[in-house]
């Protein structure tokens, strides 16, 4: 078997094992949440009878391990269960499948994540390479200062500043990114511009500095010295000789940031009223809508594992030493 295929299969196997452990952690963590759906949804108005009616109806009176296996077996078959909200003992069942609840939200999140990534990844790579090329120059220093400044501020602050300048003082972009499935593509891009810029500002520093550091690190190695002696230009050295060997750490950092864009943008969603999956999960935790929480957590775990797997594979196929191990 080709070593790359072998490594990929190995990583995939490890990923599945990780997923299994993560599912147990998710389930136990949720078990430890105080209160339950009935209490959360009825709030101050909860009576012991109504709470008990909810528990029985939702099957929460069954032992935890049985509920875990029910859920895990379902999840393997792609069935994440049915949301707790919308069920009612009398009257029609209006509850939605977890998949149906998550899908449109996940699509929104992926849309915003891709938009932010499409701006942020090329931007940080270019800035990273340029700053490596002109390191310690005025340009290098100002780019570093600017990106470090934007990453140092909390997301909501960056978001508010953008709202202030681009939505409030000059009404260029809308402050509400409230898209719905009927919103057309152009309108969607327009509405999500400010959240995408916010996310870009937040993640650029990490990726850009990693690119810069990885390249600078390689510039000290003997083979680059060799290339230099052979008369290659600075640009040639970086793009042709240094960059191919730097892909592994850069890919890892990019994967990490992409995963963050999918799972960690709830603050930005709240500020811009964007119907993404983060807000769905926070609401679900608050009201103890457990199937939705579990579904979201599982999807987040899969996102991390997959993106890291891809980063690993990129690291392997671009690195001759890993590609041809002795």
């Amino acid at each position: 078997m080709h070593p790359v295929v072998k490594t990929v299969l190995e990583r995939l196997g490890l990923g599945l094992a990780t997923l299994f452990f993560v599912s147990i952690i998710i389930f136990s963590a949720i078990e430890m949440l105080p209160g339950d759906f009935g209490q959360a949804i009825l709030g101050q108005a909860a009576l012991p009878e109504t709470v008990a009616a909810f528990r029985q109806e939702l099957g929460l009176d069954k032992p935890a391990y049985i509920r875990y296996f029910d859920w895990a077996l379902g999840a393997i078959q792609g069935d994440l269960g049915t949301s707790f909200s919308g069920r009612n003992a009398s009257g029609a069942d209006r509850s939605a499948e977890v998949v149906d609840k998550i899908a449109p939200r996940l699509w929104n999140t992926l849309f915003l994540a891709s938009m932010a990534a499409l701006i942020a990844v090329p931007l940080s790579l270019i800035l990273g390479i340029l700053t490596a090329l002109y390191r310690n120059s005025f340009f290098d220093r100002s780019v570093n200062t600017a990106t470090l400044t934007t990453i140092s501020f909390p997301e909501f602050f960056v978001a508010y500043i953008l709202i202030l300048f681009f939505a409030s003082l000059n009404q260029i972009f809308p402050s509400l990114a409230n898209v719905d499935p009927d919103t057309n593509f152009g309108e969607r891009i327009y509405r999500t511009a400010l959240p995408a810029f916010t996310l870009t500002l937040v993640i650029v520093a990490h990726m850009m500095r990693m690119t810069r550091a990885a390249i600078i690190n390689l510039l000290a190695s003997p083979y680059i010295q060799m290339a230099k002696l052979s008369g290659a230009s600075q640009t040639e050295i970086i793009l042709k000789h240094a960059l191919p060997n730097a892909w592994a750490p850069i890919a890892t950092v990019i994967a990490f940031n992409l995963a963050y864009l999918v799972v960690g943008v709830v603050v930005v969603e709240v500020v811009f009223v964007y119907p993404g999956v983060g807000q769905l999960m926070v609401d679900a935790v608050r009201t103890r809508d457990i199937p939705v929480v579990q579904g979201c957590a599982l999807i987040f775990a899969v996102t991390y594992i997959l993106l890291n797997l891809i980063a690993d594979i990129i690291g392997i196929v671009t690195n001759p030493r890993l590609l041809h191990p002795k």
Binding site: L42, Q44, S85, G91, A92, I163, L176, P275, D283, D289
Partner: protein, 530 residues
Amino acid sequence: MKDKFIKAQQEKLTLGAIDRRQFITSAIAAGIAIPTALSLASDAIAATPKKGGKFRMGLGHGSTTDTLDSGTSENHFTLVNGYTFGNHLTEINNEGKLVGELAETFESDDGKTWVFNLRKGVEFHNGKTMTSEDVLASYEHHMGEKSTSAAKGSLSPVKSIKADGKYKVIMELDSPDTDFPYIVSDYHISIRPAGDMTSGVGTGGYIVQSFEPGVKSVLKRNPNYWKEGAAHFDEVELLSIVDPNARQTALISGEIDAMDRVDLKTINLMKRNPNINIMQATGTAHYTFPMRLNVDPFGDYDLRMALKWAVDRQELVDKILLGYGAVGNDIPIGTANYFHNSDLPQREFDADKAAFHYKKSGHSGKIQLSAADAAFAGAVDAAQLMANSAKKAGIDIEVIREPNDGYWSNVWNNDAKGWCACYWGGRPAETMMFSAAYVAESKWNDTMWKTTDSAVKFNQLVKDARKELDESKKRDILYECQRLIYDDGGLLCPLFNSYVSANSKKIAHGKIAANWDSDGAKCVERWWFA
């Protein structure tokens, strides 16, 4: 005389009984100068509801677990949405008065048997005509044994409910309650077509087009709406915008026309905007710190009294509500209530009285007060301020910050905590408020004030008040009830909070109701574009 005539003419103009020309002619005839007459006419016309437009409102609530089932309606988004597409047997109008809604009239001879005469010719959005069958089914939805409705408790006094023909519903209570018609105006008890309690089909002024929980609700005007002079907008979009800054920015940049829950910290900046109106309504909503009599040391009368005197209420109004509210007087009845007992002297901070009672109680050591902002915004700060003022009277209050999560199940109304922060929306009728949290059999009796002599007397008086049909006698009884809570109860109620909202100057409305935020949560059917 002249003013009165002009006012009457203005009203006629508002209602469309006379036109602008007739109004101006009559005003000039009454000796008013022409420019004044013209401006009077425009004032009156501004108050004339106009049809049309798309109303977009940002609400500070809303969650992805919201539904269209009124039984589990729990936040202001679901409340406003519910009142927009649904009706109830009765409603509280914008004057705070109870009137029939789907029940044209309602009556009772003894306060025990209530007859609701339903309005004829009311259609549900699906075309079905509303009859007693639907009312019965709707009530069964909340009262049934397996019901998960939050209204189950308030409807528990209903012993039987039956139809008498297609347009009459008779409810039998287990004991008389002359305020029962108030209970049926509760936002939980929406009338829906039999067999479909949850899909959002109602009889209201707007028809649900799409509902995305925690995001928005899109509605359009019901062309067959039975209610006159209501539902003026063509289209409505209710948006859940939980972040206050996002809500305010949206209003300032014109993406929404109205919003609830203005952030008091930035209200002065909002006021400067020339296109925005700020509205304030002080109603029945109040913030409380219930002391549980069955938990030591709150069973002691003097200790409770000491704590009641140890709170600087005005400071709380100034610092927690930033002036948007009123001081409370340890009764759960506000000035907006009809039978509010205004004879009780307003309790103020009095270190001497507090120290006197505290000494008499013989208590020493720390008194724990649990608070979390889940109770109300600023609850923890309010508790700290209380601890601070109590220190001046030699009382040591230890504030315990509780997690917001599970606050209502694990802290409030729980014997593990003797004293905590709480919030009540209040009730339009005094006996309803008492039944909710102060009578012995209430499950939400968070003060556990049940067994003292005053409490026993109170419970009897509430029963008497429910039976009483004579207004002045009822007033006497209810005044006495309030006095008993004021003196002996476990209730420490320092604040009545105002509902503060904002809207674009394009919006016009009549008098604003104070029973709930957003014009009694009925702004969508009451407001219009000027």
